[in-house]
């Protein structure tokens, strides 16, 4: 049992990357807290399993995050049933090694597209008056990789730095409706995505060890809540002490 319990009854949120890892954990905890959640990811099978856990709370949209037209139609439909959104968490992302000598250009561009450009397009859509209530909270994922370089990670670092910096502009542009836009910079968290790229040296530099999705979801729910109503345009590092080491 946690020290903190959230109550999001009556609230609606959109979560991308919801089929696994951090995104899935966030969708689960929001549903547990009573929210109605739109869960977006590519894997229809995994989304359906998620939806079965919370059939009254989770609506799934199996889609690539770049297909804004498909997503927007279904989001509009959701808002007509459940009401406008109170926030969004863009947890979708891909990583991969892109060493300077011989990197895969498609992978490098794909990392930027998924983590950054798709997030921008999504924010442009969800922040519209007809989709979001005033004072909504939008959260994007940067990374410790935007602070500290690791070999072979320039594309990932660039994408995460791009979203971290852009959020400051978005915060200014959306503040008149009391919308808040922030990033979270996690350290290395055990997820199916990171499991494909194990780097023991990097893991050991985390003072508190490798993180779990639950170590990240708490700060996300806090930022989505009214207790964070004075926080915008900033990045919150949640890294188990990686950057300090």
């Amino acid at each position: 049992m946690s020290d903190v319990n959230f109550n999001f009854t009556g609230k609606c949120f959109l979560v991308t990357g919801a089929s696994s890892g951090i995104g899935k954990q966030i969708a689960i905890e929001l549903a547990q807290a009573g929210a109605k959640v739109i869960a977006i990811a590519r894997s229809e099978e995994k989304l359906n399993l998620l939806s079965q856990m919370f059939p009254d709370n989770i609506t799934v949209i199996p889609s690539d995050i770049s297909d804004i037209e498909k997503i927007s139609d279904k989001v509009v439909s959701f808002t007509k049933t459940y009401g406008k959104l109170n926030g969004m968490v863009h947890a979708a992302g891909i990583d991969g090694l892109t060493p300077l000598k011989g990197y895969d250009e498609n992978l490098a561009l794909g990392i930027m597209q998924t983590s950054f450009w798709s997030g921008v397009k999504l924010l442009q859509f969800v922040s519209k008056n007809k989709i979001s209530n005033d004072a909504s909270s939008y959260i994007f994922f940067s990374s410790v990789a935007s602070y500290k370089g690791e070999k072979g990670m320039f594309a990932y670092s660039a994408a995460k730095a791009a979203i971290k910096t852009s959020v400051k502009s978005f915060a200014k542009e959306l503040s008149f409706k009391q919308h808040r836009v922030n990033t979270i910079s996690p350290g290395r968290v055990k997820t199916p995505m990171t499991a494909e790229n194990i780097n023991e040296e990097v893991i050991q530099r985390h003072l508190l060890g490798e993180g779990e999705p639950e170590n990240i979801s708490g700060i996300v729910l806090f930022l989505l809540s009214d207790r964070a109503k004075w926080i915008t345009g900033t990045d919150i590092v949640v890294d188990g002490g990686y950057l300090v080491n």
Binding site: K128, N129, K130, E173, F176
Partner: protein, 72 residues
């Protein structure tokens, strides 16, 4: 671009609860702020292919119709 198409774009840009018409006074539109002004300039160039649109002309506009006359 027809005036209906222009108004669709303007209503999307302003994203207001109120629907604007060509007769709408810009001073009465709460969402016509510095951000919308910059967005209008960007849209005029990239979407409507308007060249040499002066920011002073946009600033001088009083109504939505005035803006339309700058880009049609």
């Amino acid at each position: 671009m027809t005036d209906i198409e222009f108004l669709d774009e303007m209503n999307d840009l302003l994203d207001s609860d109120k629907v604007v018409t060509l007769e709408s006074l810009l001073d009465d539109i709460e969402e016509w702020d510095s951000l919308s002004y910059v967005s209008f300039l960007a849209m005029a160039t990239t979407k409507w292919g308007v060249k040499d649109l002066k920011s002073s002309d946009v600033k001088a506009a009083k109504t939505v119709a005035d803006l339309y006359s700058l880009v049609k």
